[in-house]
């Protein structure tokens, strides 16, 4: 009986203590479940071997001015295009206020390699691959790329000029390893 008297469990005391125990138990369980779930979720992220193939090297010697090639990087088409002087001038001379996603051409190429434009070849509208990387394909009124799905047009800098695409073709991360070779990724 003495044990009962020294630690009385009255209604005023019992309820909050039970609440705290419940809260602590449920919090512990939630942390446990989250800790268990995270490896199962992260399992589905790209694995090390996929990440290891995350960069490609592209030799540029064979691409003459006006030509472009398509390389696959991380499963996506990358347009590498050798621009003519006229195409560079056209991109440079376009006033920024004519662009719906304003960006200077100098910000989209690498200094000293202005003839090379490298963009991810996926239309920013709904993911089709625009035409125009080969000279024989339709390039649209601006001489860049033309998307056959919904008619978006990109200029020679890969900037969006005719909607519905909302933004410019993105530039993948790449570096010049030499004047005739780039490394994408």
């Amino acid at each position: 009986m003495t044990g009962m008297q020294t630690a009385p469990i009255g209604p005023s005391d019992a309820v909050p203590r039970r609440d705290i125990l419940t809260l602590v138990a449920l919090t512990g369980a939630a942390i446990g479940v989250a800790g268990y779930a995270w490896p199962l979720i992260d399992f589905m992220n790209p694995s090390k071997d996929v990440l290891a193939l995350a960069s490609v090297e592209v030799p540029l010697e064979a691409i003459s001015p006006g030509m472009g090639i398509t390389v696959v990087w991380r499963g996506k088409p990358i347009f590498v295009r050798h621009r003519t002087d006229a195409e560079i001038q056209q991109a440079r001379n376009t006033p920024l206020d004519q662009l719906s996603d304003p960006q200077d051409d100098r910000a989209r190429v690498q200094p000293g390699h202005e003839q090379w434009i490298v963009v991810v070849g996926i239309c920013t509208h709904l993911g089709c691959i625009p035409l125009g990387n080969k000279p024989s394909e339709m390039r649209g009124n601006l001489g860049g790329w033309f998307c056959p799905c919904h008619g978006s047009q990109f200029d020679t800098s890969g900037r969006i000029r005719v909607p519905p695409a909302p933004s410019n073709l993105p530039i993948p991360p790449y570096t010049f390893e030499s004047d005739t070779k780039i490394r994408i990724g």
Partner: protein, 412 residues
């Protein structure tokens, strides 16, 4: 009772009421010991096995050319692949440990006796499904032990008279264990766990109809004999789970290959059988029974019979008393029977030569003798100890009280 969104749902689909009735206020005998934790533990392990398995299936390649490599890919390249695979591989062992304890608890306390015969049979069925799933899962990594395990087990069906060879060719989908065998095992390995879930749900439905047995093996006589499932047994199950999961974690993080066979790190080679071939630990007693009989069909029949006979247990045991606590002769013999199974396990892990052959036969004879001879006869002659009047009485009068407390405090 229930308001808000839960109430709105409950008046249309009474899941809240159902959960409250079956897992909240559900009356359960108040004298459970920790052996009663292993049903809940098994269920949680089932969830672990299915959740890790579903994810592993995303990176596993079920064909002979790529299977071994894809498992290495999971172990080395995939994020947390090593963890998920080790959880799955060791989870199988932990699942079997929990389920075996659950099964032997049921046998010791007579949980299979009327009115729980169907509950028991459903339990044996879940064990059979688990065993088939585990066997097929062990084949998937396509190592030497996987391959030769699959070869040996499938060849057992060749012992069937007349149609044996045709059955084995049908099982293989070819003239030996090969890619078609592997991909069908993979398909079934993915399917059977969901069949298992369904049978477990039936198992739970049955126990909520007939009520739980208890360590005394006597029926619940009044509400004083029971406690509501929540919070008393939810807490007790959670505590048991935490301890068990801690052991699981020790296994996964510190000894992940303890139960594995090093031979399985060698890719499958159809032209060379490993020098030592043995199944996973949970099949060793059955493997020993298979080898104890110097006859192909006889060995296979006894091995499958060792599981099938458990289905008849409610009718083999003729004693009206459930708990072995009150059966002075049966109780020690139960432990002898348990020892014969452990012995068979040891025999299964050794080469069948010398003393192990004789021990295997002794173990096999007692395993079946206990079930087919001792149990039916003993029930008729054994005089049980006096049974308590009710669950409450021994709980209150025996040493179950906290130190220093008296009976008067506890009585409502």
């Amino acid at each position: 009772m229930t308001s808000g969104l839960a109430g709105w749902v409950d008046t249309r689909l009474p899941i809240v009421t159902l959960m409250r009735k079956e897992f909240g206020t559900f009356p359960v005998p108040k004298n459970f010991n920790y052996f009663w934790n292993f049903g809940a533990i098994s269920m949680l392990l089932m969830v672990v096995m299915i959740s890790t398995g579903v994810v592993l299936a995303m990176d596993y390649m079920p064909n002979a050319a790529e299977a071994f490599g894809s498992v290495q890919h999971i172990m080395r390249d995939v994020n947390y692949g090593w963890l998920v695979r080790y959880l799955h591989q060791n989870g199988a062992s932990m699942f079997f440990i929990a389920t075996y304890i659950h099964t032997f608890r049921g046998i010791y306390y007579g949980s299979y006796k009327s009115p729980r015969e169907l509950l028991w049979i459903l339990g044996v069925v879940t064990l059979l499904i688990m065993m088939s799933t585990a066997f097929m899962g062990y084949v998937l990594p396509w190592g030497q032990m996987s391959y030769w395990g699959a070869t040996v087990i499938t060849n057992m069906f060749a012992a069937i008279p007349f149609v044996g060879d045709a059955v084995v060719t049908w099982l293989w989908g070819g003239f030996g264990v090969d890619s078609p065998t592997l991909s069908r095992f993979y398909s079934l390995h993915y399917l059977l766990p969901f069949v298992l879930v369904a049978v477990v749900l039936l198992h739970i439905t049955a126990i909520h109809k007939v009520g739980s047995n208890n360590p005394l093996g006597i029926d619940v006589r009044s509400p004083q004999d029971t406690l509501p499932f929540h919070p008393y047994y939810t807490i007790k199950d959670c505590f048991g789970l935490c301890v068990y999961l801690a052991l699981f974690a020790v296994l996964v993080f510190f000894a992940p290959d303890l139960f594995g066979d090093p031979t399985n790190f060698i890719p499958a080679n159809p032209l060379q059988t490993p020098a030592d071939i043995q199944p996973e630990w949970y099949f060793l007693p059955f493997y020993a029974i298979l080898r104890a009989v110097p006859n192909k069909l006889g060995g296979v029949a006894l091995m499958f019979g060792a599981m099938a006979i458990l289905l008849a247990l409610p009718w083999l045991d003729t004693s009206p008393v459930r708990s072995a606590r009150f059966r002075p002769i049966y109780r020690p013999l139960f432990f002898v029977w348990l020892a014969s199974i452990v012995l068979l396990g040891a025999v299964g892990a050794h080469k069948p030569e010398g003393i192990w052959v004789i021990l295997g036969r002794i173990g096999t004879i007692y395993y079946f003798g206990h079930l087919l001879v001792v149990m039916p006869i003993l029930g008729r002659f054994e005089r049980p100890l006096p049974l308590p009047d009710s669950i409450s009485r021994p709980v209150i009068t025996r040493n179950a009280l906290p130190r220093g407390a008296s009976v008067a405090e506890i009585r409502p």
